[in-house]
Every structure is written in structure tokens, then in C-alpha cells.
Amino acid sequence: MAGSSGKGSVVADELTKVYNGKVRAVDGVSFTVSPGEVYGFLGPNGAGKTTTVAMLTAGLGATSGHATVDGVDVLRHPEEVKRRIGIVFQEMTSDGDLTGRENLELAAALYGVPRTEVASRVRGLLERMQVADAADRLAKTYSGGMRRRLELAVGTVHSPGVLFLDEPTLGLDPQGRAGFWKYVQELRREHGMTVFVTTHYLEEADGMCDRIAIIDHGHIVASGTPTELKDRLGGDIVTIRPIQSDHDVAPLLRTVPGVLSVAAQDGNYRVKCTNGEALVPALVDACARSQVGLAGVSLKRPSLDEVFLEFTGREFREDEGVSATDRAVMLGRVQNQLGGRR
């Protein structure tokens, strides 16, 4: 397999996870994350993001395939991998019954931070994460943003070579998300750590990641830098919404000069073109001449939203679907019930 598998890297080779012998949560995923890179795994709920992270962080066994993190084989040496990585989970996992300081001291001890460095490192992180004033308050009294920053501090107290962030900003307001990412970027700059992040916030992936993989139904459907992915769209997207949805206007729209392609979806027509602003009047004019009434016209510059739509064939919705784990649990329950009736 191509790519680096040394220090600071993350390599997955045909990584597969099948639950209950039926649900293929992750299906032959391969990628290489270079040292120091911020790599985004983008996809809706149930796409296989969290399952991939769980396999890479030695929390879940793979059904097949191979993975190395920081140059260490995850399946053969899970304990060594745990020593080298940091994780911020999508749920709060710091101890609410301990103070912020106690949480960090505990994490430092478990990760083997030298005893002489613990106090200064904990103090430094509390200050950086802006929770120093609340350092001796129980974590369960923290606001959502403070708790998230504490999670990040707990996950990085040992200065790991690779940091895994699984939906780290879930539930945070935009200001909280911006603050969280500021700290991640600072840590990355100072320690040169590789960051592997799963998210379903498109603007986060666009702004923070060096490269992105779009995962859907357990498969990587596209990958590249945000710019590369957007360039693959080939230009702007004009969305035409006719009043009458039963009449196919795609052939008409294709006759307009400058149109690269037309795709019908849910009664709308996505017109791909190089210069949308100039093309909109021509498209409206063509519809008017053919007596096609329009309910709306919109122009979008290429965005990851559009990239997702292009590669998965559907709109990106943050609350979409159930997770692969939930699906496996539901399948298990159905199987148990069927088994009980037999």
C-alpha cells in the first residue's frame, strides 16, 4: 500500500467491520494520513465514522483489514497504540464527580506523564483551555463549552503523536466550536501532532482539514483537499425549481450555452456551469421562452455541501439516519425476538 506508515501517520488498509455478520458498518476503507496532517472523515450518522475511529484507537476489533497508527500495528499491539494516541470522544467522558484539575491529574497518571511534569502540564492546559478559574470545581458543573475544552485537555495531556477527535464539537454553538478548533490548531502547531477528525459539520471540515474523505454507507466515496473536492464539481451550481414538477425541463436546460451538466433531483434541476452568475439570466430566459414557470432559482458556489451531494446523490443532513452501532443493536434485538418465537 502506498504512503507512509511511520511516526505520526495513520494508515488503514481495507479496514472492514461487520456487526452481527450482517451490518457492514465499515466496508474496505483504505487511506493514509501523513504526519502533522489534519484529516477529516466526513459523513452523516451511520456512515461508519465512529466505527472507523473505534477500530483505529484499539477500542473495537476489525472484522478484516489492517491498520497502523503512529507506526504501530493496531490489531497486534493495541496497548502500545493507546499509549501513543489521544482521543476526544463525541460524548462527555471526563468524570463529572472529579474537578477539572483532578480529571487532568488522573489522565496524566494513566498515560505515564513524568510525575515531575504533571503539575506544570495540568496548570498549563487548564489556563490554555480557559478553565483555570474553574479548575477546582466539579466537572459536572461546567458549561458545555468548558466541558468540551476539558475533554480536549484530557485527550492531549500526554502530548500524543496522533489525536483522534470523534465529532468533538457535537452540540456546541458556533462560538464554542470556533474556540475548540482554535485550541486544536494551537496544539497542532506546537506539538506537530497529526489530527484525525470525524465530523458532520461541513464548514468545520472545509476550514480545518488539510484533506477530507467522504464516507457513506461504510465506503469512502471521495477524498482530497477541500479545494480539490470542490474543483471536481467543475464549477458553480444553479438550482432551478419549476412550478410544475411533472414536466422534464432537463433537455431544455442542456441547450443553454455554458451548461456543463443537468441533474434532476426531488423536482429540482441542478445545473453545473463554469460561471453561474452570468448563466442565470440565460437559464431563466430559456425557461420563459418555453413557458416553464419557475418557483425559484438559486446559485451556489462550490461547497462541501455540494460535494457531498455530488458523490452520495443526496443532501447532507446532520440528523440523518441512525448510527451503525444502533443499527446493529436493533438488528440484534429483532434477531433475539425472532429466535425467541422459534
Binding site: 484499539a58 477500542g59 493507546k82 460524548e91 462527555m92 498515560y111
Partner: protein, 274 residues
């Protein structure tokens, strides 16, 4: 391993110190037994003093016999919630966080066990003290007729400690295996009461039918309370077939067997999911 064990034990003790209600709850059941069951059941009024000595194996009163039994039973009530904490830590993500660190299953299990067995020893002596105090208030109370030696106190501490290790391991094993709190409490109740009722903690030994005595002899609570009673009551050793050290050995065998099973279950629960 040692540092991880120390850090995780500190975490458990901090949580315990911040939750005095949990300690009170552990005390509630033995206290209620002392105040209600112990006071109401006046066996001495029904039989001669000589017969009573036989029935309660050398204890001066039934209440004294019973109070020593309660001091042993504290090892069960004070460790009841230890497995529930595992379940809640799993539900609140704390166990996921701990499992994601290099801390091994032995440190995670061991820290909970260590923190869990400190409380019952203190509570056992609190129960004994309270039982003595009840006597000073004019109620039925514990009468210690033996002169307690350092070795005797040591044996009592050891008995409660080993019994606590056994029950803490058992409840931890259940906590690591079961995911729902309701199921945990149902399982624990299914163990708690039968173990108490098949022991010699409550019932006068002399009133038990022979087959029941055979069952009770192998009960770990019986072994622990035998050690306590042999040390608290003068001449009680004459009513027991074995010396306290033999009962301590029996208890250790019980505890060792349960610990091995519990560690295996904890390791399985904390290993990467297949």
C-alpha cells in the same frame, strides 16, 4: 501498573468521600436490623441461660450473637453498590475514557476493589460500637465477654476484609457483565438475601436443623462471623469445631476463587469489542 492503580484508587476514594449518602445507605440496613430485629427477638426469655449458651454458641445474649453477625453482614451491604458504579461509569462514558488509556483491566478492577474494601471494615466496627451503645441506653446491647487481644482485633479486621474482598469482587463481576442498572439490582438482590438467610449471621446455630447447619457451614458469611464471635465471647471457642484461623483460610479460598472469576470477566468486558 502501580501508578495507574494508585491514580484510579484515588479517584474512587474521592468519589466516595463526596458521597456520604452512599456510606449512610450501607449502614442503614444493619442499623435497622439492630434496632428492629435484634430488639424484638428476645431468645433469652424463652430458654434457660445454659440452653441459650448452646443455641448462640457461647454468646452471652442472642443480641450479642446477632450484633456480631451484623458486623459481618456489613461486608455485603457496604459493597452492594460497587458494581452499580461500574454500570453508571459505563453509561456516563467514564469507563470508555479509562479503557481508552493504557491502564490495564487489572488496574481498573483492582482500584475499585481496593477502594471498595476500605469502607466495610470501618463500618463493621461502627456497627459493633453502636450495638454496645444500645446496651448503655437500656436496650438490648452487645456484651463483649472476652478480653480482646491485638491478634483478636486483627482476626476480626481480616475476616471482614476478606469477606469484603469476596463480595466486592462478586458485585464487580456482575457490574462488568451486566449493562442495565435494573438488571444489576435484581441480580444483587437475588444473591444478597439467600446468602444472608443461609448463613449463621441471624439465626441461632442451635436451632438450625442439621442439614441447614451443613449448608451454613460453607457460607462465607458464617465463616467470617465465626471468627468475630470466637474473638468477642469468652469460652465461645468451645462451641466451634475449628479455630478462627481455619475459618480465615476457608474465607480466603472463597475470596480467591471469586477474584479469579471476577478478573476474567472484567478483562473480557474491557477488551476491545469483537
Amino acid at each position: 501498573m502501580i501508578r495507574e492503580l494508585g491514580a484510579l484508587t484515588r479517584r474512587e476514594l474521592l468519589r466516595l468521600a463526596r458521597n456520604p449518602q452512599a456510606i449512610m445507605t450501607s449502614l442503614l440496613l444493619p442499623i435497622l436490623y439492630l434496632l428492629l430485629f435484634g430488639q424484638a427477638f428476645d431468645l433469652g426469655a424463652a430458654v434457660s441461660p445454659q440452653a441459650l449458651l448452646f443455641l448462640v454458641r457461647g454468646a452471652p445474649t442472642y443480641f450479642s450473637y446477632f450484633a456480631a453477625g451484623m458486623a459481618g453482614f456489613v461486608a455485603v451491604t457496604a459493597t452492594l453498590f460497587i458494581g452499580a458504579n461500574v454500570i453508571f461509569d459505563r453509561l456516563f462514558g467514564v469507563l470508555k475514557r479509562t479503557s481508552s488509556t493504557p491502564a490495564g483491566a487489572s488496574a481498573i478492577f483492582g482500584s475499585r476493589l481496593l477502594a471498595g474494601i476500605i469502607q466495610p471494615v470501618g463500618l463493621a466496627f461502627l456497627v459493633l460500637g453502636l450495638a454496645v451503645a444500645l446496651g448503655k441506653l437500656g436496650l438490648a446491647g452487645l456484651v463483649v465477654t472476652a478480653s480482646l487481644s491485638v491478634v483478636g482485633v486483627g482476626e476480626i479486621i481480616l475476616a471482614v476484609l476478606i469477606l469484603s474482598v469476596m463480595f466486592a469482587s462478586l458485585f464487580l463481576a456482575i457490574g462488568f457483565t451486566i449493562e442495565q442498572p435494573q438488571t444489576y439490582f435484581a441480580a444483587v438482590n437475588a444473591i444478597n438475601l439467600p446468602v444472608l438467610l443461609t448463613s449463621a449471621a441471624l439465626f441461632p446455630w442451635g436451632l438450625m436443623p442439621a442439614w441447614f447447619r451443613n449448608v451454613a457451614s460453607f457460607n462465607p458469611i458464617t465463616m467470617a462471623v465465626n471468627v468475630i464471635r470466637e474473638n468477642l465471647f469468652s469460652g465461645a471457642t468451645a462451641y466451634y469445631p475449628y479455630d478462627a484461623s481455619v475459618y480465615l483460610l476457608g474465607l480466603t479460598a472463597w475470596a480467591a476463587a471469586i477474584i479469579v472469576i471476577a478478573i476474567l470477566l472484567a478483562r473480557r468486558a474491557l477488551a476491545p469489542k469483537a
